[in-house]
């Protein structure tokens, strides 16, 4: 159980999800912390199963090294529960890199996917877009962008219900040939992929929903996501500062009619996202997620299991391979 507010908020959310009655929760973490957390809710004891994990992967540790050195950490122990079929899905607010590395290592990758990728939307302003990658891979190779595009296509189909999602590369210009080496080399690969690739789009076109699937490397995606998330809180504070006398009213009006501070937590993502490409359902939550986000993440993981998103990804890749497109 990782995260900025762990274990309290993570446990609170997990117990609340267990109370809803449609999931079985396994809490993986240090026994003492779990016992302490369960003390607050006597009825929760019977609702959850505990699995002790003695080690903790600390934010900032090298993910690749940590998952081998700390095999008794919740991120490794929990992933193995999924591999062994004891759990259907894994969700963590711990080190994103370690979760991604652990998932790739212990669950394995879906054939055709080389690296796990994080996708997510900007649902407040652009409800039908998904960006890939949002931080799982800071350095990417051109062919990996194609696999991210496939994952994004399945995402848009499965979770947004878009039959033939459009795919675009995020770049510094619309024309082919604009952008860095990664974008220039990925462009022709995407053209040949058989996906609904429409070319490059620029940053000012993201929220215009010019494409359903927008591709960038994890470095760009993560910077963009965090900037976007900061706009809500900063925007509200800015407006309240402009009218300090009636800031209570301004705050009320904003929260009621323009909930900017909730930007990042609306829609499907709501504090966590699916790790695509690994052979199992894994959700990575924001480090600063609170109990309600954990509840949402658990329910979204349940939906991902029920809708068989991993199977859908495998089918999409198999189809493109059969057609000789990848």
């Amino acid at each position: 159980m990782g995260g900025d507010y762990a274990p309290q908020e993570v446990m609170k959310g997990a117990i609340a999800a267990a109370h809803q009655g449609n999931v079985d929760i396994i809490l993986v973490g240090q026994e003492d912390a779990i016992t302490e957390g369960l003390r607050a809710d006597a009825s929760a004891e019977k609702l959850v199963r505990r699995v002790h994990a003695s080690e903790v992967i600390i934010e900032g540790e090298s993910p690749a090294v940590a998952i081998r050195k700390k095999k008794d950490s919740s991120i490794v122990v929990g992933m193995k529960l999924v591999r062994q079929g004891e759990a259907d899905a894994f969700i963590s607010a711990g080190s994103s890199g370690a979760v991604a590395a652990s998932a790739a290592t212990y669950l394995g990758m879906v054939e055709g996917m080389e690296r796990p990728t994080l996708g997510g939307g900007f649902s407040s302003f652009a409800p039908n877009i998904v960006m890939m990658d949002l931080g799982a891979n800071v350095d990417c190779k051109p062919h990996q962008m194609v696999s991210f595009a496939i994952a994004g296509t399945v995402y848009a189909r499965t979770l947004y219900g878009i039959a033939n999602p459009t795919v675009a590369l995020l770049s510094t210009g619309a024309e082919q040939g604009k952008g860095n080496e990664l974008v220039k080399e990925a462009y022709p690969l995407l053209q040949q992929s058989g996906l609904n690739f429409i070319g490059n789009i620029e940053g000012n076109e993201i929220l215009l929903s010019k494409a359903n699937v927008i591709l960038c490397d994890g470095f760009v995606g993560n910077v963009l996501l965090k900037f976007y998330e900061s706009i809500g809180t900063r925007g509200r504070a800015w407006f309240m500062g402009k009218a300090p006398i009636c800031k209570g009213l301004v705050g009320f009006l904003f929260d009621r009619f323009l909930p900017l501070k909730k930007l990042s937590y609306e829609g499907e993502e709501q504090g966590s996202g699916i790790l695509w490409g690994v052979d199992g359902v894994v959700r990575i939550a924001h480090g600063n997620c609170k109990a309600e986000h954990v509840v949402h993440g658990i329910n979204a993981a349940r939906k991902a299991v029920e809708t068989n998103i991993v199977g859908s990804l495998k089918n999409e890749i198999a189809l493109l391979k059969e057609q000789g497109k990848i």
Partner: protein
Amino acid sequence: MTVEEEVKQIVSRIVHVEESTITREGTFKEMKADSLDIVQALVAVEEKYDIEIPDEEAQKFTNFGDFVDFVVAETAKKG
């Protein structure tokens, strides 16, 4: 299949390189493997042979041959 061939198969699958291009003298760097590739390969081999490859040993591997030799020695110890 020998241990070397099996290890080669594992590395090939994880690093996405042709088995025929993996030589005893070749390095992970030459295969363009990143840190995650290496960890995946180490864990896959550990699990296949039920052995442990300590980090301090892994850091000594200068090429694929060193890696294989370590695995062969460890599996021999297990009988």
